[in-house]
Amino acid sequence: MPPETIAGYLAALRAELAFDPPLCARVCAEVQDHLYAAIEAEPSGGDEADAVARFGSPHALAEQYRVLSLFTRMRRSGVTLVLAVAAVFVVMEARLAWYALTQWNASAGLKAITAVVLPIDRYAFLTAAACGLAGWLYALLATPSTGLSIALGALRRCQLLLRIAALAIAVAVVVEVFLSLYRFAEAGASTAVLLPAATILLEAACVLAVALSLRKTAHRLNLLPH
């Protein structure tokens, strides 16, 4: 049964907008002011049920906000991805600098493996950087459309770019982990592996952060009507 009082309407709207608490607080405050203003504007004193009915269904209103909120969420995922790619690059360079500083040279076996897997690492990283930047810029510049199907199309294209970037950075990090573990196994138990091991953990944490952010965004996107 549709709400007939302002309190009932706001409660229903709060439940519908629970996916984005800051947005919910702002929208509910605006709607509350609107409904009371509508009642006060009636010369003979307005009726709450009429004001609520004129406003439209809380569900329909929340669906429009869901799309707007998803664009914000997608931009956030894009930022997370771009920062993660940059962090992986910095950490990887720091590890290589550490190897050079400690004169920890690669063995002949490691050099042979590196020659094979390094192009995979390099192209995966470049793909992650290019698609991540493209996805983030797309989310940043896309104007949320009034039409749901157009907005959904833009969101899905952006999601695809970010997913490709996430997969590529995961591949690059897996290659880095493999090469590092090979190097650590050759060195045996030594305190020299502690810093490179920490950098590997940092890279893995970056990939995990990206995966979690994209998963949350995908979940919200799947809740939209198709």
Binding site: E30, D33, A37, F55, G56, L68, T143, T146
Partner: protein, 111 residues
Amino acid sequence: MEGEILKGHLDMIILAALAAGPSHGYGVIQEIRRRSRGAFDLPEGTIYPALHRLEKSGLLSSRWVDGPSARRRRVYALTRRGNSALTRHRAVWRRFTGAVQGLIGKPRYAS
């Protein structure tokens, strides 16, 4: 007025309603009703996601102000980009209505 036609032009209608000066959501709806002489009668809630979207696009700015009855209200205003967008919308609309009028208006036959 047909709802779908109206929705397609909602951005332009809101920008035009705010051209007179900053206003809160309820004021925007009243302005739209007044200037359309009651022809545009949308469900009132429709306006808020559109205001939010236009703000996100940089065409509007907004801020909370203290309203009557100790309630806070969010007041929206056109930004410079919003003004430019409205000017563009107006030019496109004039060309469009002129062309449609030429097509579906009363035909004039050459004598």
